[in-house]
Point group: C2
Chain length 218, copies 2
Amino acid sequence: MITFSEENYLKAIYHHSKDYPNGVSTNAIAKSMCTKASSVTDMLKKLSEKKLVNYKKYQGVLLTKQGEKKAVNLIRRHRLWEVFLLEKLNFTWDEVHEVAEELEHIKSEKLINELDRLLDFPKKDPHGDPIPDKDGNFTKDIKVLLSTLNEKETGICVGVNDTSTDFLKYLNKQNIAIGKHITVVEKEVFDGSILIKIEDNQFYISHQIAKNLFLQLQ
Amino acid sequence: MITFSEENYLKAIYHHSKDYPNGVSTNAIAKSMCTKASSVTDMLKKLSEKKLVNYKKYQGVLLTKQGEKKAVNLIRRHRLWEVFLLEKLNFTWDEVHEVAEELEHIKSEKLINELDRLLDFPKKDPHGDPIPDKDGNFTKDIKVLLSTLNEKETGICVGVNDTSTDFLKYLNKQNIAIGKHITVVEKEVFDGSILIKIEDNQFYISHQIAKNLFLQLQ
DNA sequence: ATAAGTTTTTAGTCTTATCTAAAAATAAAA
DNA sequence: TTTTATTTTTAGATAAGACTAAAAACTTAT
């Protein structure tokens, strides 16, 4: 069983390791976590025993495969909760982080995967950071659902989620096709419908449609 | 600042005090929390210092006004999360409790009040237990939103949530008024619209309307 | 009313996660 | 290459929450 505190250390090490790929210093961790170097040393020993980090005295620390997996999953949870708070609970950009910091520690696979579904499998959090999927993969080719785009964003249509003939017929009729540039002009909060622009035509599509169109972000 | 553990004790005492209004015994608490009597004694001293319980050695314990307020709020959080897990995240009846047990400790007023709104201010949790409102009142007179009724249920219109003139005008036009009996004939899953019956007239109203009409259940 | 049984509390220990202060190791400067 | 400065680790302490074992207080039964 992993504790809240251990999870927080893993997350901090993960973030620092981008800048210090040869080993994250004790002080760097202490500073970012508002704690003392001696506390960090204690925790590194514990995490090392649990095989979540590779740690040699005075040499800095890096995550093991196992540790990284846990860190990435934690980031997934954090970012999904942020999207949830913003989109479903009317939180503002600056309010999300603090609460997500608590929610991310709730331990339930199902909880987080269902949350992912509820939010239409978002690929980015409110700050534009990518959200890893359940296997820990960050989709670098940013194929996202049209429904997850914000106002003013544009993407190229690259695929559909629903492949029923009814849906494809509808797309034909509306002149929506692979390769077309689609811009989100306005999102209707009331029913989730979206005003989109394709080649100088503007029209509304329902949330249902937007949930089934994949775009590649520009 | 109140800890997870303290909150759990408050909850346990609250539940026991229904059966033992003159004082809850140390052993009863220990048993229901799967802990030892000595641990309970320790905690009762701490809670007593914080003025959350009235505790005299060997005499049993009861919540103070302040302690009860916290306990009721905790129950509110627990039950709202249960509704959320069941209705929005496809959890089953038996899965909700364990995860709600963790979620209930997340500290954010806004989080829980927005969750309440997202769920249309439910008055009962999945087990039929009442959900206290944000002021700690269990509505014994079950004033519920029309949107929360199930098919075949009937209620008397007792109020509105939205008081805009546009909304009230609409109600007039549709012959919806305080005192009228309203029966839910059918609920449309697709868009949340509801087929209702008032004095032999049947017609559809949108989810938006149903979310703003209070009924007293029959 | 006193002995036996039960419940509750105290006293002392353990673990987790912190901290301070001092010692050891590494890095930088003269 | 020494000396100085910085970083990191150790040693020892503290607080929260839990435990065991023993003492103290209440309850029952004789």
